[in-house]
Symmetry: C2
Subunit: 330 residues, 2 copies
Amino acid sequence: MGATSTDMEPTTAYLNTLRAAGGKRSGKRDLIVNVFLRQEGHLSADDLVDLIKREDQKISRATVYRTLQWMVDAGVARKVDFGEGRFRFEHSYRHPRHFHLICKSCNQSAEFLSSDIEALIEEIATARSFSARQSVVQIYGTCERCRTGRQTSAEGGTTELLFARDALRIAIATERSGFEFYTRAAKMTKDGRGRGVFRRLAAEEGEHLSKLESRYRALLAEDPQLESRPTFLFFKGAAHGLFAAGAEQLAKGVNDRQALMIGIRCERGSHRFFKRYGERFEDSEGKRIFLEFADEERAHLELLIREYRSLTSRQRGRRAARGDRRLARA
Amino acid sequence: MGATSTDMEPTTAYLNTLRAAGGKRSGKRDLIVNVFLRQEGHLSADDLVDLIKREDQKISRATVYRTLQWMVDAGVARKVDFGEGRFRFEHSYRHPRHFHLICKSCNQSAEFLSSDIEALIEEIATARSFSARQSVVQIYGTCERCRTGRQTSAEGGTTELLFARDALRIAIATERSGFEFYTRAAKMTKDGRGRGVFRRLAAEEGEHLSKLESRYRALLAEDPQLESRPTFLFFKGAAHGLFAAGAEQLAKGVNDRQALMIGIRCERGSHRFFKRYGERFEDSEGKRIFLEFADEERAHLELLIREYRSLTSRQRGRRAARGDRRLARA
DNA sequence: CTAGGTGCAAATAATTTGCAGAGGC
DNA sequence: GCCTCTGCAAATTATTTGCACCTAG
């Protein structure tokens, strides 16, 4: 029913890309694909047949099934199974893989993503030496609306906007703790050159932080209710892991080499996180934010690694010099 | 194919319980249930029909379906959906709810449990004010055997033994860190009475630890390969969370009240964990271990809470006394 | 005797397939 | 003209149901 694609252009462009990729031809397949992409939510094959019938009486159920299969192969659609004894389909355009909350009472389903769960799943697969291609997480139960009767707090909104919002929130939290981390590290580093590196990184993080904050404000302008909508992307590491943990370690007192080490670990962790999610979402604000970020973190990472190498080689040199002196004394 | 129920007695006893609960009568339903319970793994309705046909030619497919439904209602079986377009069934006797690794290549499925994932799922459901009744986690991909061709490291083994093994491992790790925690706490507590409490708890944890260790050895005797089988129950908190985190906090230096507080938090956490998993597994070694444990932790918890109250009331008394003196001076 | 259990065959429901004709390039 | 897509109807697969009959309590 919803049928509100913000604009039609990207859809067409997107389809052309896919048509090329799919390698097959088009006829009224286009009609089916277009109707499908106009919908939002999870359609059963039958739902789609009904919708198509409104525009073309003589379309066959078999064609709809065949087109659905084609869309799945082409990557336009994903087949999802809510245990109803039939499959449903959701489109994947500007819509990353995600998990589901499924209400047994109204049969509606809500979506979420949890980096923490994904990380655990990866760990488990590795521990069992299982090579995971895809995973399904479904929470069955009763949604708020069905339980309380009344409208729930600002449901819905495009996944695209929600993803961008959460991406930005996480990016901001990370930048903030990165900024703190480098500021603190700069204060406690004895080596003059290392101090310079940390200062420079702190400055960069600070600058990027303000850019992100203004981008966040711009995003809020697009949908006044955006801030009150429920979380889509869960990631505990954002605020508490990564740099925050690093900052805690710093507080315990470390030497310059250790500080660099911690910085490297933090940057590597956040680079991985942003890369993973950046790659998941084709052509969207969230993707751009994450990939830019991943790039910046990679640059920092490289800088830190260079600095680490330089520091250890200088230390080795000094140790060698001391050794020479010791030899001379002997 | 497997068909190795360690002993037949518990199955029969179990069925009697259920028959009473189910409220319905038995005929060749018993045959179907028995054949079903003898199998292990995930059977499709059709697999079961084939198996039954071997023992009774004239049994009807419909009866098998009806009995399967009855078993699900009675709690003997669980219906699982691996997205094949049909359902499979697994029995729940001595077999807690769990998650699945599903190999797309050989269609075999392996089981696991992750307390960490479950905790995250609960958190997400709460954040979205969704009341979760049940959740599904499925990892699709390729298993080791299909990938490497050769036999994988000591696969299989009853879920029951695996669960008991992992339950014991976690219990031992927890006791160990609990022991360390209380030993350290006793050392640094100034208040004489509080020190006594911590010492007593340390002694209890130590004693229980050795009991658990001998139980673990006994378990290993039941299946020589047990120790090399893959992990079934994943729980990061076991070693690193709970008491270990508490011990770390202690190391930073705290006063007596704070030490009690930390102890309370740790005991509460482990009590919850053991209760949750203890309740999940009916009539098994794993269940007994976990519930005994939950009980012991609860007792400790109560002791700590009593001590905390007593300490704060004594402090209040002292503060009041100081206040009186101050008033007298004025 | 009577509620529920059982077999058999027919009904559903979701999805797939064979085949002859239509359409794009 | 060739290759693929499409419609239609029949086939397949998984599961359920109506109905007459049977059986345990």
